[in-house]
Amino acid sequence: MTQEARELSYAIAIREAMGLAMEADPTVFLMGEDVGVYGGAFQVSGDLIDRFGPERVIETPIAELGGAGLCVGAAMNGMKPIFEIQFSDFATLALDQIVNQAAKARFMLGGEVSVPLVVRMPAGSGTGAAAQHSQSLEAWFAHVPGLKVVQPSTPYEAKGMLLAALEDPDPVMVFEHKLLYKMVGEVPEGYYTVPLDKAKVVREGKDLTIVASSIMVHKALEAAEKLTEEGLDIEVIDLRIARPMDKQTIIESVKKTSRLMCVHEAVKTLGIGAEISAMICESEAFDYLDAPIVRLGGTENPIPYNPELEKASVPQVPGIIEAARDLAKGVR
């Protein structure tokens, strides 16, 4: 297949990845609520049901724990399940199977089994769906040895990381941001993978490093662009993978810029920014820091329904600009 680039939406890029994987490997299947004729709550599976039929695109009853467990068992028996949890908030119902079973099975069985399970979860706020449909819970999963946790920020990453996840022998949690589903971007045709262990410098700069994840990458880039007007040259890193974290890329950047800011949508306390900050403090980059590390994250509340409050609950471009300006200009 050619690797020619076209523009695709994030949702369709994911669908394309699933389709390619299912074509190539008969053990791949998609399971989840409303993934069939409905095409998925966010229209990600779309027409896969027409292409692969109900034996490979399986609509479950509303039963997240059971569905996850089914996928764990199928994975142990040689299949490669893609389990879609309709909103990542509902992973709270499936955590026993993900954390106690999938993540630990290989270890508990002394390496006798692998669980090649991919869990896809729409996450994040911005749709007015309030507190039980808007959380960003990736930090929970990143706290769990045995899991890999990825957060694609573009259609390109969405496709390539999902294909990589499907090649991976271990359980991979894919957090897809709902507001990105409609984002359009270049996506090569055919099969390619984006490795699951590398962050990506998406904008080079020398004054300040922003490590952002998921949708915040775009907000950070926008802020960085605006700040060029003020003469600031900001480096932006797309974290891409929350576990295992690519420490080296961040360390190198901080050694260059001497200033670090982390931006994520999850609640600030114990969000991934905490780990990045602590990790940098432990690393050789600590000595290069010219200012304290700054974290921007969600405010300490559930996501509210009111749209203005909702926006105020997660970092936005003006806030990033302000924080970056303060950080870049203030010298300690």
Binding site: E33, D34, G36, V37, Y38, G39, A41, E59, P61, I62, A63, E64, L65, G66, D89, F90, L93, T127, G128, A129, A130, A131, Q132, H133, T299, E300, N301, P302, P304, Y305, N306, P307, E308, L309, A312, S313
Partner: protein, 345 residues
């Protein structure tokens, strides 16, 4: 209102007179009809406001299911409680909520039931005993059982009426909660509003039994299935279950078969249902049409009476939308308010 009124004395009545016509007065039944109108107008008003961009987020309309909410709730007594779910506007209205505060909530205003923090999926009227909608399918069921547990602990007389969908019965939460309620004979009624689909998945493709009430056998409790578009059938089945619950005999499952006229939520293209199926339910099986007809048959109303109630319902909803529009939005500075209970120092 029927919910707060008393059922008419049982007298000698012809066996074929429907339950509600035996036990409720004309005024009470017209009030039920009025509530059905309010629900219908409410949902239409919400849909319209949504389409005009005045309401954001998502919402689940109960148009077509009005007989379940009203028929079930009319059997309750003053202090009884309900647990609603994501498709909960009708429950809320039937339970007597202030539609002004409901609309204000949808508009994200401080005058809303949740002060703009909850929206449609978390609408509640806690102080009156509506324990609230829930964004988690099945999530309210154990909570409702816990409410019933508290009732029993405190030796109160209340009953909790727990609404859930046909899709929800496949969640583990349902199983765990129903088992405990049955085991401990808690004062609760499990009311399954079976509208044929859990989002896009039909009952036949989601549950291994034809009727959700069949699940009752696995818990050793009564289970019945009734026509959910018939106010009287709903009220009859629910009142029996409520009586059972109140007298300490434990829970029942009452399954009300109904249909939602609209899509699951805002973004539904209805690819999983045929146009014929939808049209049939709208044209031939509308619960409001049916109840009007029955009221007429029993001499309890006329087109004029109905029209007047309809007008009143419309005016109420128009007023509610105005109220919502004119209410204040919460202040952004208060974004983290209500996370914890404010404690006196």
């Amino acid at each position: 209102m029927a919910r707060n009124g008393h059922a008419a004395d049982k007298g000698e009545v012809a066996a074929n007179v429907p339950f509600v016509f035996q036990h409720y007065s004309r005024d009470e039944l017209l009030d039920v009809l009025y509530k059905m109108y309010v629900i219908r107008r409410f949902e239409e008003g919400a849909e319209n406001s949504y389409m005009r961009g005045l309401i954001h987020g998502t919402m689940h309309l109960s148009i077509g299911q009005e007989a379940v909410a009203t028929g079930a709730i009319m059997t309750l007594q003053e202090n009884d409680q309900i647990m609603s779910n994501h498709r909960g506007h009708g429950h809320c209205v039937a339970f007597g909520a202030d539609v002004n505060r409901m609309f204000a909530e949808f508009f994200g205003k401080v005058t809303g039931y949740c002060k703009g923090r909850g929206g449609s999926m978390h609408i509640a009227d806690f102080k009156s005993g509506n324990l609230g909608a829930n964004g988690i399918v099945g999530g309210g069921i154990p909570i409702a059982v816990g409410a019933a547990f508290a009732v029993k602990s405190k030796k109160e007389e209340k009953v909790v009426l727990c609404f859930f969908g046909d899709g929800a019965n496949n969640e583990g939460a349902f199983h765990e909660a129903v088992n405990m309620a049955a085991l401990w004979k808690l004062p609760i009624v499990f009311l399954c509003e079976n509208n044929g689909y859990g989002l896009s998945v039909s009952v036949a493709r989601a549950s291994s039994v034809p009727n959700i009430s069949d699940r009752a056998k696995g818990y050793g409790i009564p289970g019945v299935t009734v026509d959910g578009n018939c106010v009287s059938d709903v009220a009859e089945a629910v009142s029996e279950a409520v009586e059972r619950a109140r007298s300490g005999e434990g829970p029942s499952i009452v399954e009300c078969k109904t249909y939602r006229h609209r899509g699951h939520s805002k973004s539904d293209r209805n690819r999983y249902r045929t146009k014929e199926e939808i049209d049939d339910w709208i044209k031939n099986r509308d619960p409001i049409d049916r109840f009007e007809m029955e009221l007429k048959q029993h001499g309890f109303g006329s087109d004029e009476v109905f029209e007047e109630l309809r007008q009143r319902a419309s005016a109420t909803i128009d007023g509610a939308i105005e109220f919502a529009k004119n209410s204040e939005s919460p202040s952004i500075a208060d974004v983290s308010q209500y996370v914890y209970t404010e404690q006196a120092q």
